[in-house]
């Protein structure tokens, strides 16, 4: 039983960065924008959160720094694609390359330092319950935040006017513009939100999960988050499910050696990437369904008719 709880705890910790990054990108894509720079925003968030946590010794300051850093990166993407109408695919790639370089430059003095233990929820009695106590009431605060975020985004798109407007912009920006909604303004907002989420996902890696800084430590998680949005068919709840599924695969890979599986480590490390491809293939093969679920204006530039 102890082992099962440990595995479940491991899955939650492996999945949480993906939850943050995927839910942020989901909101961005709902507004009709594809930001392929998730990896770049994540890694900059990772080093921003890590360096500020080390400098100030304050976890909250680190989290805020990661949010701001991710949002600033997204702002750069917004200026290029929304104001200057640059190609979204190319700009997203540029954001990732720039982010990886910037983070490496920023983090060169931080290798080998550790961030210590991130504060965890601790409720008397409940957190000390056998087995479920640690799992349900003893996680770090960011895990609860990630789940609240998913619930919040789901509620936002279903029940609020703002959510409806963003969905309308993603489906048909010309019609939304004709009704009088400021398309570009709303897209900037979703981009900033997505950037902040990706930054936080990165910081979760460097400040909570590992907790140290290593160059290129996101190792493709930003790209996996992008695939998760497709997997989720742009539904928040399914994004959460997908992230936990991937957390499971990561943990499986780590534990399989403990179980005595005789395969070289490199082949096991391929698992998350191969699983991403498999998932994409399964979800995408139903063309009609993808077409119905995907925001119709995804990657299309918007230029108001004058």
């Amino acid at each position: 039983m102890e082992l099962v709880v440990n595995i479940l705890l491991g899955i939650v910790i492996a999945a949480t960065p993906l939850v943050f990054a995927a839910i942020g990108e989901l909101v961005v894509e709902k507004s009709g924008v594809l930001n392929l720079g998730v990896e770049g925003m994540m890694i900059v968030g990772a080093i921003a959160g890590f360096s500020v946590t080390i400098q100030t010794g304050n976890y909250l300051a680190g989290v805020v720094a990661a949010l701001v850093a991710g949002a600033l990166m997204a702002l750069l993407f917004g200026v290029l694609t929304q104001t200057l109408l640059a190609n979204q695919v190319a700009t997203g790639l540029a954001l990732t390359m720039f982010g990886l370089g910037l983070a490496a430059l920023w983090g060169q003095d931080y290798s080998g330092k550790a961030a210590g233990n991130f504060p965890k929820l601790d409720i008397p009695v409940l957190s000390d319950l056998p087995l479920v106590g640690k799992l349900l009431f003893g996680q770090d605060y960011l895990v609860y935040l990630s789940i609240l975020l998913v619930v919040g985004v789901s509620w936002f798109f279903r029940k609020t006017r703002g959510g409806l407007i963003i969905r309308a912009i993603g489906e048909n920006h010309d019609a939304a513009h004709a009704i009088g909604y400021p398309v570009v303004f709303y897209r900037y907002l979703t981009l900033l939100f997505g950037g902040a989420c990706a930054g936080l996902g990165g910081a979760y890696l460097s400040v909570v999960q590992t907790p140290f800084w290593a160059e290129g430590m996101t190792a493709g998680r930003g790209w996996i988050a992008l695939a998760l949005v497709v997997f989720a068919a742009w539904r928040p709840g399914r994004a959460l499910l997908g992230a936990y599924l991937f957390g499971g695969i990561t943990i499986l890979q780590l534990h399989s050696q403990g179980f005595g599986v005789k395969v070289e480590a490199q082949y096991l490390s391929m698992l998350p990437y191969l699983a991403t491809i498999a998932v994409l293939v399964i979800i995408s093969s139903d063309r009609l369904k993808v077409k119905l679920n995907a925001p119709a204006c995804l990657t299309q530039p918007f230029r108001a008719a004058t």
Binding site: A86, F98, R287
Partner: protein, 356 residues
């Protein structure tokens, strides 16, 4: 206030000028960056962009680093024109190096002029095989080639690492994760004595010439352009989208694979886990810097090679961090994409209107 006004036709002059503007802006941003880092900004820029052009050895190095960038960039540009986003060239580069390198290692006791062409062929096939996966998944299952090709980069790098730790490891080595050194028949002949410039550069020039002929003079090149600019028109004209996807991915995969073999058989001379150093990603910048045109890619590849060489020189001379080059390359692509707005629009100074 400033306002963007759409042009009736894309500006020809701006198409040529924007890469120049982007480089100029990158240099200016670099001056700011070095000032922030507390280094002499003018000396750093001089070392990165100009100093290498004054030395024969550095000029030769320009062709060594430029070769993979030009080869990969030429292939990627073809796909980008058709809206086929192969961003996994780094993986195809590794697959090509593995295939070409495996041929060399299997034949390590033989010698002959025929080995090198065989290695190059194997490298191209390896790259094609790696690129065939996203092509198949996109045409058969509609899976996005951006994500699948990128995921395969990680798989290829892990595969390289597994193989040089295992079956391809030098049996006479000291258990280091590296293959045998390639013999003379398995390394590319040197062009200029005393430098590392090798015949691979001639292959890159050849690839540029063929790419130009294909894109500008062949019907398939025309179909690729129509597919990218007006997919609906392409469909009405009866062009097969699937065929174009396959063509673009296989061609770019073959060129990336060839670049991988050339890298292994040229400057490196063996298979090591650290073989891929990001050429596959930098080549994306090269393709855009060259405006997706073969001749532009030739210039763009040489310019990006310059930032590698100059960047290394500046790292040593001024103890700059190695990530500086990558920040530079990222900034260059940003400025390039930002400047692109001038091709389709002009900036006008217009009086503030009541409702923007």
């Amino acid at each position: 206030m400033l306002r963007l006004e759409p042009r009736r036709e894309p500006s020809k002059a701006m198409q040529v000028l924007t890469p120049v503007f982007a480089v100029a802006l990158t240099i200016i941003a670099g001056l700011v960056l070095f000032t922030i880092l507390g280094k002499d900004p003018f000396r750093a820029i001089w070392l990165i962009f100009f100093e290498p052009l004054t030395q024969t050895y550095a000029l030769a190095e320009l062709t060594v680093k430029g070769t993979p960038l030009i080869l990969i960039g030429a292939g990627l540009a073809m796909g980008f024109r058709a809206g086929v986003w192969n961003i996994g060239a780094e993986g195809q580069f590794v697959a090509g190096a593995l295939a070409g390198g495996s041929v060399a290692l299997a034949l390590h006791e033989t010698a002959g002029l025929w080995i090198m062409p065989l290695m190059c062929l194997a490298g191209m096939l390896g790259g094609m095989a790696w690129a065939a996966v996203p092509a198949f998944l996109r045409t058969r299952f509609n899976a996005n080639e951006i994500l699948t090709s990128l995921m395969l980069v990680y798989v290829a790098i892990l595969l390289l690492s597994a193989l040089v730790h295992g079956p391809l490891r030098d049996p006479e080595g000291l258990n280091f994760p590296e293959s045998r050194l390639f013999s003379e028949s398995m390394t590319l002949p040197i062009l200029i004595e005393g430098t590392r410039a090798h015949v691979g550069f001639i292959l890159a020039l050849l690839a540029i010439a063929v790419a130009w002929l294909f894109m500008e003079r062949h019907l398939l090149g025309f179909q690729i352009k129509v597919q990218g600019q007006a997919p609906l028109a392409a469909r009405f004209a009866g062009y097969s989208e699937k065929r174009i996807v396959w063509l673009c991915l296989l061609t770019s995969g073959a060129l990336a694979g060839l670049a991988g073999t050339i890298e292994a058989a040229g400057p490196v001379g063996q298979l090591v886990p650290a073989l891929p150093i990001g050429y596959g990603f930098t080549a994306i910048i090269v393709a855009f810097l060259g405006r997706l045109h073969p001749f532009g890619i030739l210039l763009g590849g040489l310019l990006m090679a310059l930032t590698y060489i100059g960047g290394e020189a500046a790292q040593i001379a001024m103890s700059l961090p190695s990530a500086t080059t990558r920040v530079f390359q990222g900034m260059l692509l940003f400025f390039l994409l930002a400047m692109d707005v001038l091709v389709g629009s002009r900036i006008r100074w217009a009086p503030r209107q009541a409702a923007g």
